[in-house]
Symmetry: C2
């Protein structure tokens, strides 16, 4: 074995000491020997920033806690700052100050990275230091590292992500049990898979932030949260799920990022997937990211979404990566080095599923088919089911520009025979 | 954006120019701009070693080809050597010489790494250079990088791998269509998923080499091919698969690497998995690696197994990693830095499935149950099916030390009522 030099010592400043922070402390402690072997360094937390140091008396030695960020920033022995406060402020100020001072940064902050990532990436390059944010997407599933380092030359074209465990838990419940959305949500809250106020998750905003981060890295171009249109799952009905099941499809809240002819489109919406698609089997609170590129066929990474322990593991793996690569002259993988345009949603070609409640009268299907035909929207399959005076039409269409489909749908929804506002769902995972 | 310095130039020597080699050449050419952006370097192949340079007139400029390794080794401009010859010799000599000369090495050679890895890893550390081998396991699925870099501190305890596409294709066919092994093998050969001589794959040897590599990295201790006992799939009967299906199980050739109380056990065998296990949905020629550790719950990486393009992508991603991390003082992640003992197969606690052909006479089940009971092997479930004068008993057992199960099985197989040699199959993926 190679001679082991005396381990160098690396000191961290930790900002925040909630569930993730205390787990980071614990993992660094418990895995100290393994980490030292893996990196040749002994890593310890020198200071922990909390609001009120007098309240913290457990989980770490009391003398580590401080209420003063400047004390951490000004400590020349601290070379890495781990930001686990979350939110935009003061996290942004702290991280900026750390990078300005040449310290490396690890953060789990998806809000911040999805909104200020491009600036922070550039700053870290200018200052010849590093910012890592593995924990911001998909917990301990190392999707950031894989995209940034292993796929740097894979020419990624498509990313499909199941990146929010709450939504996936709810949709899995609805699919398995036939439950209605509200009941599945209540169950998710009961089991701790959804917050008391689930808006951030259910609206798709949380997934949108993560997709902005993934798209920025994969396409090497800044995508921010506001660039990602999102539709939540609250309008997915148990009826749609039952029909989807009949059609051999399952439903997921998908983040979809595509590169078309050097333009980017990133969105989050409920989507139907064939049951044999690799993402279809990602159930419950699991996360998965599915990649396709010019030089790779399909790669999927999956695992439990963000729990306190998973997030902490991802943070520690970033710390380890920085320590192993903190040599002078280290070249950080650049993230967003080009500036691609966006592809308008309307121009995207999609496959749609649509359930229509109609009056059960002769000629209804003909009128609807004609309206779609007028907009050159072509029906692939249709199932008609009578329900008393009403009938249901369940249709799947051939791929079509979303603009045309929207125009046809508007016309169809104005037909007097159509009883309820139609809510189409995209079908994904076909050959694109 | 940070000022872009003029890109440094990195020159490679390529050893071998088959399918993988020519795809590496092509990807480096086609992705040149992306790679330069990602690494700040322009990478080109300066020389290509082939047996007979006069035969190579396409795929790369003719002046690059040489028949003389020394010409590549002695070229001070070449900093990375990419070995794509395969096999033990002369690959071992070439790689050793490259590392001795301080050149970094990328290889796709699973035979070599699974047999000489520990020595090569040490050598590369001593010489302060790097050896990377992503392409040796699971094609473009970046499992080596993830294990080595992201999971360095995750305390990996279990690895389950579907790491041979040929076996998985055959078993998927058998499961889907009810085909017999020989017919599914013939179909795999027809479609190019199995070689004309499939011994290396079918025997499990190929999977064993890959599991040796994965276990070495995950457990940080040298595991070589010979340490991995393997059972192939040729005795998996379509009858077993049909019964497994009834029990909600699917069958895979699994590589299983476990760390018990600081001792290692690595094996390859056909195994039954519950249909909702994440690995159960990995079908056809796909590969997947499933990880579990003290600090991570379950992480799965999956994608197409080794095709020429996938393997080339993995090779290029290693080249990119080296270029990005080739600064002076770079610290390679050490691989096998400790020396753990092996856990004897007999002591492993496993769950078994067993189908027994017996005479359909009263008292048979009692005799069999008694034999198992005498060895404290406890039956969880049993199905008895009459087939004329014979009957079939399909049994699943509670977890038991393999030693006890083997002893019980030997006794059972000697019972006059048991008509055919019993072939148990392990059930994996329960809570371990």
């Amino acid at each position: 074995m190679a001679t082991s030099p005396r381990p160098k010592k690396i000191s961290l400043g930790l900002l925040g000491f909630g569930t993730v922070g205390s787990n980071v402390y614990r993992i660094l402690d418990e895995q100290a020997a393994e980490i030292e072997q893996a990196t040749g360094a002994s890593i310890s937390i020198r200071k922990i920033l909390v609001k009120d140091p007098s309240l913290h008396r457990s989980g770490a030695p009391p003398e580590l806690f401080t209420g003063d960020f400047e004390e951490i920033l000004g400590d020349p022995g601290i070379s890495i700052i781990v930001e686990l406060i979350g939110g935009l402020e003061p996290a942004y100020d702290y991280i900026t100050a750390a990078l300005e001072n040449g310290k490396a940064v690890v953060t789990a902050n998806k809000q911040l990275i999805s909104q200020q990532g491009s600036y922070l990436f550039r700053l870290s390059q200018e200052k010849k230091t590093q910012i890592r944010f593995e924990a911001s997407v998909a917990g301990a599933v190392p999707v950031i590292k894989v995209l940034r380092e292993s796929m740097a030359a894979a020419g990624i074209q498509n990313i499909y992500g199941i990146v929010n465990g709450t939504n996936n838990y709810i949709l899995t419940e609805m699919y398995r049990t036939g439950a209605k959305y509200q009941d599945a949500l209540a169950r998710a809250q009961e089991w701790g898979y959804a917050e008391a106020d689930p808006t951030e998750d259910i609206s798709g905003k949380d997934a949108a932030a993560k997709m902005a981060i993934l798209a920025s890295i994969a396409f090497h171009s800044g995508v921010v949260l506001d660039d990602v249109a999102c539709t939540g799952i609250e309008n997915v009905s148990s009826l749609d799920i039952a029909y989807a099941k009949e059609l051999g499809l399952t439903v997921k809240l998908l983040g979809v990022a595509k590169l078309y002819q050097n333009r980017i489109n990133v969105r989050v919406y409920p989507a139907l997937l064939k049951e044999d698609h690799p993402l279809a089997s990602v159930s419950g609170a699991y996360n998965a990211v599915f990649l396709r590129g010019t030089a790779i066929d399909e790669i999927m990474l999956s695992g439990p979404g963000a729990g306190g322990m998973e997030t902490a593991t991802a943070v520690v793996s970033d710390i380890v990566s920085i320590v192993a690569h903190s040599q002078p002259g280290f070249l950080e993988y650049p993230v967003a080095y080009r500036d691609l345009d966006f592809y308008p949603d309307d121009d995207v070609v999609s496959t749609f599923y649509l359930r229509l409640e109609v009056e059960d009268e002769p000629g209804v299907l003909a009128a609807i088919a004609r309206a779609f035909g007028d907009h050159e929207v072509s029906i692939e399959s249709v199932i008609q089911k009578g329900r008393g005076a009403h009938a249901e039409l369940v249709m799947v269409f051939h791929p079509v520009a979303e603009r045309s489909f929207a125009a046809a749908l508007e016309e169809v929804s104005r037909l007097p025979e159509v009883k309820a506002p139609p809510r189409p769902i995209r079908v994904e995972g076909e050959n694109e």
